[in-house]
């Protein structure tokens, strides 16, 4: 394996809580990403995220251990309610985070105008998939890194890399939504809580489980049945894009995608050669044990590939949702 073409990628790991952040840093993360409490980021779940004070402490801990902190302020403030988002930018700058991840143009304008020296990354929520879109954001907001939407093949990522002036961060592991991020109002349609404006997809407060006479478990989101599981079958968390529906008079099917997780470990060397600067692991809502296991395994896999050897990836496969995984759009155009 020609290691000379590979640069050492930054391993970007999820931190849902201060304790989770320390776990990720200790397990070998080069950078952690996190959000402040409230609607300003795309993982606004109860019990998750940081206060401004916790963020400042977390940055001190990470920097003390040679890791970076990236703050996600990547939801879309509705008109007339910008303050939580501008406060979040202020808090991030005060806490000396290494970068702020933005998606909304209004938020990006505030950050650029108020803190011209603050490093900005473009969130996957901005949905910038073409070199032109990425170049536009780079020009307008001095974006230094783009988190690519999960719709390109590795070959296409390489082509994008050659045409843009900023770094690329790519998701490699974890839950993937089927819809382009920042362009999905499915949860909002069913629950009234908006992924874009409230930072919530499929809120637990709107999930209901009911058992029928035969013992099958029906899962609902708001008023809508999303999936059904036979006795003993492992029930996935109900999100609309991984539910089962009937098209016309056909049998129920996963119209969008089955409940699978993204796992690109097999493609890691290709991604590293494609010029991807940072490999991102999803899962701010996951447990510390999960974060520790995934981060350690990826640290090992990346370092092993860099040393020119094949990595053992069996441990990672066991951690994917129900053990089922996909390479999504990355491996081949046939996924589309």
């Amino acid at each position: 394996m020609p290691t000379a073409e590979m640069t050492r990628p930054e391993l970007v790991c999820p931190a849902g809580t201060p304790a989770g952040l320390r776990t990720a840093v200790d397990a070998g993360a080069d950078a952690v990403y996190c959000g402040l409490q409230g609607p300003t980021n795309a993982r606004n779940f109860p019990g998750l995220n940081f206060t401004p004070g916790e963020l400042a402490d977390a940055v001190r801990y990470a920097h003390g251990h040679g890791a970076k902190v990236l703050l996600a302020v990547n939801s879309f403030p509705p008109a007339g309610r910008m303050t939580p988002w501008t406060d979040a930018i202020d808090a991030g700058v005060r806490a000396r985070v290494d970068a702020i991840i933005v998606a909304d143009i209004g938020v990006a304008c505030y950050a650029r105008d108020t803190y011209p020296d603050q490093r900005l990354h473009l969130s996957v929520q901005a949905g910038a998939a073409s070199p032109e879109a990425i170049r536009y954001f780079c020009r307008a907001f001095a974006i230094r890194r783009v988190v690519l939407p999960r719709l390109l093949t590795v070959a296409e990522i390489k082509a994008v890399h050659d045409e843009i002036p900023c770094e690329i961060e790519a998701f490699v592991f974890g839950n993937i939504g089927m819809m382009v991020e920042g362009r999905c109002a499915l949860s909002s349609y069913a629950t009234g809580r908006s992924t874009n404006m409230d930072g919530v997809c499929s809120p637990a407060s709107h999930v209901r489980y009911s058992e029928d006479a035969g013992g099958a478990l029906l899962t609902r989101l708001g008023d809508f049945a999303i999936d059904c599981f036979a006795c003993g079958q492992k029930a996935g968390y109900p999100v609309i894009c991984k539910g089962r529906y009937r098209a016309a008079d056909t049998a129920p099917a996963y119209a969008f995608e089955e409940p699978v997780s993204l796992n690109l470990t097999r493609l890691l060397p290709d991604l590293m050669r494609a010029g991807v600067t940072a490999l991102k692991i999803e899962g701010r809502q996951r447990s510390r044990a999960y974060v520790k296991a995934v981060v350690s395994a990826f640290r090992d896999a990346v370092d092993t590939f860099l040393a020119g050897r094949e990595a053992d990836l069996a441990d990672l496969i066991a951690l994917t949702e129900g053990g089922r995984q996909t390479e999504g759009a990355f491996a081949s155009k046939t996924w589309r």
């Binding site: 879309f76 007339g80 819809m179 909002s188």
Partner: protein, 314 residues
Amino acid sequence: MPALAMGPILYNWPVDAWRDFYFRLADETAVDTVYLGEVVCAKRAPLFAPVVEAVADRLTRAGKQVVRATLAQVATTVDRQLIAAATEPGGPMIEVNDTSALYHLGGRPFIAGPFLNVYNEGALAFLAEQGAAHVVLPAELPAASIAAMGRHADRLGVALEVQVYGRIPLAISARCYHARAHGRMKDNCRFVCDGDPDGMVLKTLDDRPFLIVNGIQTLSHACLNLVHELDDLAAAGVTTFRLSPQSCDMVAVAAVFRAVADGLLDAAEADDRLARIWPDAPFANGFYHQSEGHRWMPQPSSKPQEVRQAAAAS
């Protein structure tokens, strides 16, 4: 007096139906602005390309403002070529639905489409500075935020457009779900979406119609109907009401909205007429009222639901 706009056809209609829809629009209605062009799938654009100039010409001669709608997702080489062609200097006014187009426009005037995510005054001010003279708001924006946008748009001299009728665009994906439902994939889809002029209905396991698949796009099963909210929208500074085409008689739909906007028809009577024109989908107005998007929340001007259903059935 707010203007009426006919949004782009989001579905894959046969080219003759596509052309005739616009020819009829040119001849018969009080629609002021017409959006033309493919928003969902680059593979469909060549299908009606042979007639698009004739359609645009006829609409222009009929006094309509014609705007060319552009793709909401730009990723592949073909997508990028379409955007580059649509943004050539000297070309017609376009509706921008992805930032890729802004790169090419370099400050020339454009209309910001509903997929560009203009959620707030900061984004509005930035895009106005970049050349947006007219902005179509995202479908999930609630009344209070529309009103806040109205105040800023007025100050900036930007026209504001809000969808008031038709299925609500909810999501876009890299994968084609029409192809998937037919055991195909996007690259060899054989245009299986052309059998569903209002999209393909997805029902829940308990048989409730829920969503609509339209290629890589997902829409609401319910039909947005803001006929009761037109006065409030106008008062909030919305200058243009968008009707999103369905396969029903859109000329008749436009006539209903025009009559209500002009104060010639009351909204409850309008509901009855709209339900008769397109009985296939229930109404929804939940997003506007900061609720679930699928909800229909009766307004003081509504008739009770039973009365309306009885009227629709008669």
